[in-house]
Symmetry: C2
Subunit: 242 residues, 2 copies
């Protein structure tokens, strides 16, 4: 057993690589930088990780298990749809917290040697969606829903990472999140798939009012009231059909 005073070279390499990746702004990190920072010689790196890619794969795997751990430890609200929102937001937040790691994980996808992590993320999301499916809240299979949600989630996160932290607009995330969720699930408490009976005119009118409210805010409602009102309006508007 090692004392904490001096971690093993393998650990030092991993930490140094992770730290350098996080610092060096997207530029590639050289093995020499890493071995120097870990106070270790080149062959040690190759002994433990095989090659540079192996080292950074390990870094990414560690980051990913941190991500998955965080995802798995999120509480279950009991409301599957609310859970979906939570996991979406958690994904985005992880990307913003570890931008360079995230870019390696989800941005630099090489076909063929596809990161198994993306598949794992998909599988995990599918689990959450399966719970929603059990509650009869899905209008597509959990597999399809997971892929669509993950794709949009990654796209949004990449876009947010790409722009300066100062002018990041998280509304992009919320808006896209609701879009995908409402296409994939029904938000109704009861009797999910009515679709046939509901009078379409309600939906049409709700959409119209929603649109009208975008350009002109009524002064009869306070801003907090308006916020909730719009949310409900959107719920009504997005009754899933097709």
């Amino acid at each position: 057993m090692k004392k904490v005073g001096e971690p093993a070279p393998k650990t030092r390499l991993l930490r140094a690589a992770a730290a350098l990746l996080a610092e060096s702004n997207g530029e590639p990190v050289s093995t020499r930088q890493v071995t120097e920072a870990a106070r270790v010689s080149a062959p040690t790196l190759y002994h433990h990780f095989g090659d540079k890619e192996g080292l950074f794969d390990a870094v990414v795997a560690e980051g990913f298990s941190e991500y998955l751990g965080a995802e798995r430890s999120l509480p279950t609200s009991g409301q599957p749809i609310e859970d979906l929102r939570m996991h979406w937001d958690n994904h985005v937040q992880f990307g913003l917290d570890h931008p360079h790691l995230y870019l390696v994980m989800f941005g630099n996808i090489r076909p063929e040697r596809r990161p198994s992590m993306v598949a794992s993320a998909e599988a995990f999301l599918e689990e959450v969606l399966a719970r929603a499916a059990e509650a009869s809240r899905l209008v597509v299979t959990p597999h399809e829903a997971a892929r669509s949600m993950l794709a949009a989630n990654i796209g949004v996160t990449l876009m947010l990472i790409a722009e300066p932290a100062a002018k990041r607009n998280l509304e992009l995330s919320a808006m896209t999140r609701e879009a995908v969720i409402s296409a994939v699930a029904t938000t109704s408490e009861s009797d999910p798939v009515t679709e046939t009976e509901g009078t379409p005119s309600v939906v049409v009118a709700a959409i119209a009012l929603n649109a009208a409210l975008q350009s002109s805010h009524p002064d009869q409602l306070s801003s907090s009231e308006l916020k909730l009102f719009l949310e409900w309006l959107q719920r009504i508007s997005s009754r899933s059909g097709s």
Copy 2:
């Protein structure tokens, strides 16, 4: 003026770089490969492009102008929403046709030095969406809508590129496309709100929704929520002129 028999070295470099990038499966392309393929010596490359990055920026810029050209030359169907679908599909198709180019364009985004192309793509999409807005079909600003759509579009395309061509399921694209579009725009064909004047349209739409709700209660809202919702709706409907 050069005959076509032997393009200028600059052109040869560009073509060689583009070809090598398309062939070499995601692995980096070396300047030596490029100069050799272009039958040119190293300093020529640096004379014309300054830098390896400059060369590949040029390749990407060419690919991007091909993309934008294709986008701009798409016919306008006259139906803004249908146009949105067309441009979405065109984006995905471009990514699948030029996967490696696409990954460099939209996958490897480096913060700071943000590819101006992503911004251009966003701007172009915003134009299309502005047309939809003029037809009163948007429920959010064209800017927000463009960002959300582009983010989802990129996410979907990256995911499709990442998986083997054989088992690609374009339904992922269609499904996500409809999700985002329906969140951003109304799909109703007829006169959502007559928009001709600013404020009255809100009142008109509110009255219409109120009327529709009398005959059919939406299941997206609980009864207590509905009660409050109707109350607010009435407040909006009874706005005294203005």
